[in-house]
């Protein structure tokens, strides 16, 4: 195998370092959209008025039934047509965020359904308002299953960011492809990209485990 260390250090790593920032930024921004929009979708679907429930359910089905890559292309080429021009990275973050929000909505729903019925009944018997019931009784108890599942989606989003290279977002995969085609050397750049994803995934998984244990300890005693 022909591996050039000076090329790796002088050309690949500096450019990849910058691209890694874009990847991490896109991951967290998309994750933020996913967890907030997911909560809104779940609340509208399960507790909203009837005329909202139906379109929301259809929207969720639509997003789940189409590939993420198609959605990225769709937003990238269709939004400018309706005079919304966003930087590619913003479009990519939107697509990733929306795609994962419907998955997060399902996580929330499952977490809330896992709270025993007796807890709802006790809240009713104590005459708590719907808001208090959710805030103080249901949501704290649904967090232990929800938090690790959301953590897994954070890692999933991270691993989905290379799809943004299809719309020329300067994230790590795109940069490694560019370096490859500029210098006719792919080995170093693509290997570094792979190592980057491996290391970051392992670090993120460890972080998720720490948070998961913290939540379990502080809520379940």
């Amino acid at each position: 195998m022909d591996w050039k260390w000076d090329f790796t250090f002088d050309v690949v790593l500096p450019r990849m370092w910058e691209a890694a920032g874009v990847t991490v930024y896109a991951t967290f921004a998309a994750f933020l959209i996913a967890i907030v929009l997911g909560l809104v979708l779940m609340l509208l679907k399960s507790y909203g008025p009837k005329f909202v429930q139906y379109p929301v359910t259809e929207f969720i089905e639509f997003i789940r039934a189409t590939p993420l890559l198609v959605q990225i292309f769709f937003l990238f080429f269709v939004l400018p047509d309706i005079n919304i021009t966003l930087p590619p990275v913003t479009t990519g973050i939107l697509a990733l965020g929306i795609y994962n929000s419907v998955l997060c909505a399902e996580v929330y729903r499952a977490g809330i359904q896992a709270v025993p019925r007796g807890q709802w009944e006790a809240a009713t018997a104590l005459n708590l308002s719907t808001y208090r019931t959710f805030r103080d009784i249901i949501i704290p108890q649904s967090l232990p299953p929800i938090v690790p599942a959301l953590g897994n989606y954070l890692i999933a989003i991270f691993k989905e960011t290379p799809l943004l290279s299809f719309v020329a977002v300067a994230e790590i995969m795109q940069i490694s492809k560019l370096i490859g085609s500029e210098y006719y050397r792919f080995t170093e750049a693509v290997t570094i990209a792979g190592i980057f994803f491996l290391v970051m995934s392992l670090v993120a998984a460890a972080m998720v485990r720490v948070v998961e244990n913290y939540v379990k300890r502080s809520i379940l005693h």
């Binding site: 807890q119 006790a122 018997a125 708590l128 308002s129 379940l220």
Partner: protein, 258 residues
């Protein structure tokens, strides 16, 4: 009659084709202590659950202190009750569950003050003071900072009783409060309920399998079967001279089990 606290007026409760309460008519006077006995599936727990608004009824009207619970008056007619109307009346009723249903992520004291603070609008200090008195009454003041998982079944149920009393209800519903307990813990819970029955003026409605206890504390015992009250009387009469054949059978099978 102003002293009627609870009135079921031709109440029907169905689950699909299954009739659980079959045109039930039933009254409880202010301060009266009524026990409900009967075979499983007779609808006795459902009486408490519809009164606590945990389940909807299909027909009839339930009155609490003279006011309709599942309906409200509007222009001289009864219309389906609004959320606000239900919440206002529900504040007069407290329920103790078979499985305690304590909030597992809150301490004993936090369980007790949740409703007074957020529903009755008490300040936190007032709520803590009142709740500590109640925890003291059920003999668990020293467990105020324990979580439910750190308490025995009997202790959990006593906290649940304190939690219910903390919202200052006038009507107390007990749904088989000792059925989920180990035998050696039944006594401590019954002692608390006995104290409530003798030293306070609560209107109490209790579904129980503890025949001896029902006989001891109740003003009246109702025997339910197939969604109806088949026989009701003062405890001594009902237990010693049961008239109805099904009641006789039920009582003798309960006796055999003991």
């Amino acid at each position: 009659m102003s002293d009627v606290k609870i009135r079921f007026d031709d109440v029907v409760k169905r689950y699909g084709p299954l009739v659980v309460l079959d045109h039930l008519n039933f009254q409880v006077a202010d301060g009266e202590i009524v026990s409900i006995i009967g075979p499983s599936g007779s609808g006795k727990t459902t009486v408490l659950r519809v009164l606590m608004t945990l389940e909807e009824i299909q027909d009839g009207v339930i009155y609490v202190a003279g006011e309709p619970l599942n309906k409200m008056e509007s222009g001289g007619r009864l219309v389906p009750a609004s959320k606000a109307h239900v919440r206002r009346l529900r504040s007069r009723i407290g329920m103790v569950f078979q499985n305690f249903n304590l909030f597992p992520h809150m301490t004993a004291l936090q369980n007790c003050i949740e409703s007074p603070v957020y529903t009755n609008g008490l300040s936190k200090e007032e709520a803590i003071k009142a709740s500590m008195e109640l925890l003291d009454m059920v003999g668990l003041a020293d467990k105020r900072d324990h979580y439910p998982s750190q308490l025995s079944g009997g202790q959990q149920q006593r906290v649940a009783i304190a939690r219910t009393l903390a919202m200052r209800p006038e009507i107390l519903l007990f749904d088989e409060p000792t059925s989920a307990l180990d035998p050696e813990m039944v006594g401590e819970v019954l002692n608390v309920i006995r104290q409530l029955a003798t030293a306070h003026s609560y209107t109490m409605l209790m579904v129980t399998h503890q025949m001896g206890f029902a006989r001891e504390v109740s003003d009246r015992v109702c025997f339910f079967d197939k969604g109806k009250i088949v026989e009701q009387n003062v405890p001594a009469e009902l237990f010693d001279r049961p008239q109805n054949e099904r009641l006789q059978k039920f009582l003798s099978s309960v006796k055999e089990a003991h």
